[in-house]
């Protein structure tokens, strides 16, 4: 049995081949319906890093994240997470996942939701309060989720992903619908977690958020347009901000 608790990102358990890599994707192909969302996709993410995944809606961000969590049916390729095939049983309480639309029970309070998911994960009971604090919902902890605002519901869902001691956090648009103060606080939390050794992959379609990551992935139509540090990206494109950089790259591609 693994140990859980507030001490995030414990030492890598046996079974991990490469202790440095949190995610390794090779030749991934995902077909949804008649559409090829990802094709021959490769990506490696080091442990303890904060990576931003950017791109317009429909670019394949969520599909990529679902593949990493192991809930996406894939056609071909390999996805290894923490040295194990994505979605394999030992990973299920080592990977925290936030879906794009909030997935918590509307007819339970915030605290009841977290208690339930903590029990499922085998996480410590004290962890519930920590997760509620992390997303700044302490004053609403005993309200039914269905009576909360959209942003509060999204935060309740995020709190679930923070439960236990996930070594990898896959967060699909965690800051959507949030006010600037809260957004800043959450990014601070993400950076702190990365500093403690947690690997984070965070998607967003708000470009300026990306500047808070140490690595940026720009995804468009299932292809990586850029894979760089924020400063590297700006330097390479000669643009003042990420949004311009992105547009520049798209124009450049279209010009070919």
């Amino acid at each position: 049995m693994m140990k859980y608790g507030p001490g995030l990102a414990a030492a890598a358990p046996p079974g991990d081949v490469d202790h440095d890599e949190a995610i390794r994707i090779t030749g991934l192909r995902v077909v949804r319906g008649a559409r090829v969302v990802l094709d021959d996709f490769d990506l490696t993410v080091r442990r303890g890093t904060l990576t931003g995944l950017l791109g317009p809606s429909g670019s394949g961000k969520s599909t990529l994240m679902r593949a990493i969590v192991g809930v996406q049916r894939v056609t071909a390729g390999e996805v290894d997470v923490l040295g194990l095939p994505a979605g394999s049983p030992p990973l299920r309480n080592r990977v925290g996942y936030l879906t794009q639309s909030p997935s918590v029970y509307g007819d339970l309070t915030v605290r009841e939701n977290l208690r339930y998911f903590a029990a499922v994960l085998g996480a410590d009971k004290t962890d519930v309060d920590r997760a509620i604090e992390n997303v700044d919902l302490a004053s609403h902890a005993d309200n039914l989720v269905q009576n909360l605002s959209g942003g509060q519901e999204a935060r309740a869902s995020l709190a679930v992903a923070l439960l236990g001691a996930p070594e990898l956090l896959v967060l699909d648009e965690p800051t959507v619908e949030l006010d600037p103060v809260l957004r800043r606080d959450l990014w601070e939390l993400f950076r702190r977690l990365a500093g403690e050794g947690v690997t984070l992959l965070v998607s967003s379609h708000v470009m300026d958020e990306a500047e808070r990551c140490e690595r940026l992935l720009l995804l468009r139509e299932g292809k990586l347009l850029a894979d760089d540090t924020p400063t590297g990206l700006l330097a390479r494109t000669g643009t003042p901000n990420t949004e311009r950089a992105f547009l520049h790259l798209i124009d450049q591609e279209a010009g070919r």
Binding site: G70, V71, G87, S101, Y105, G106, E112
Partner: protein, 242 residues
């Protein structure tokens, strides 16, 4: 499968019900209300004695079918099921969690309904009451299993509610409530032999008519249907989706 997760799931479902007192009240008291109405319609006469036990089999089945199918559909569409299956939850934990919670509700429901039918309305039952309740709870679990299963084939709550008339009402018509099963046209009689509700009603009749009722054969058949349906239901829960 992990007992901790199974119990946590059952507990969570019960807490959800507690937050919804109207559903809880409807679930527990509507069967008793309908039984009383029926008693009134027949003026407490012999017809009531004839169909009363059959209704004790029907109500838990229909009620639990509806509640479970809608609840599971919500889990599927809201993303909570995907989240649970990305965690250490086993498919059986999920299914048995629901079965446990609604099974518990079914016990309370059956106690209230049979208590009122026998104690207040004077329903004549020759066999032991606990057998009546056992069969009622098993019928409820059958409803849970069928509800879990059909929720996989519905995309909306409109669709799932329509499965009630499509899958449940034919069983009600053929279970021997209107016409004894052996007096049905041969084809229909054969069909009724493979429908689970027929055995639920047969079991109730057996308890009602005989002092030393032999109900275990029926119980085994109903349980087999429930387990089979839960197995099919488990097959529709997928960790990876397209």
């Amino acid at each position: 499968m992990n007992p901790r997760i199974t119990i946590a799931t059952a507990d969570r479902v019960l807490v959800q019900l507690r937050h919804d007192p109207r559903t809880l009240a409807l679930l527990l008291f509507v069967p008793s209300f309908l039984l009383t109405l029926l008693w009134w319609i027949y003026d407490g006469g012999p017809v009531f004695d004839q169909i009363g036990p059959a209704l004790l089999a029907l109500f838990p089945f229909i009620g639990m079918f509806l509640v479970t199918s809608v609840a599971t559909l919500r889990e599927r569409t809201s993303g909570t099921l995907e989240r649970l299956l990305s965690m250490p939850t086993g498919k059986l934990d999920f299914l048995l969690g629901y079965a446990l919670a609604f099974g518990l509700m079914a016990i309370v429901q059956a106690l209230i309904a049979s208590g009122i039918a026998i104690g207040l309305l004077g329903l004549e039952v020759a066999g032991p009451t606990w057998q009546l309740i056992t069969v009622a709870v098993l019928d409820a679990l059958l409803g849970v299993a069928l509800g879990l299963f059909v929720s996989a084939f519905a995309a909306t709550e409109f669709q799932v509610v329509q499965f009630m008339p499509a899958l449940v009402l034919p069983q009600v018509l053929l279970c021997g409530l209107l016409v004894p099963r052996d007096e049905l046209p041969a084809v229909l009689s054969a069909i009724s032999d493979v429908l689970p509700l027929s055995y639920a009603v047969d079991a109730m009749r057996e308890v009602q008519m005989n002092v030393d009722s032999r109900v275990w054969g029926y119980v085994a058949i109903i349980a087999a249907f429930a387990v089979g349906m839960l197995t099919f239901g488990a097959a529709t829960l997928r960790r990876r989706t397209p």
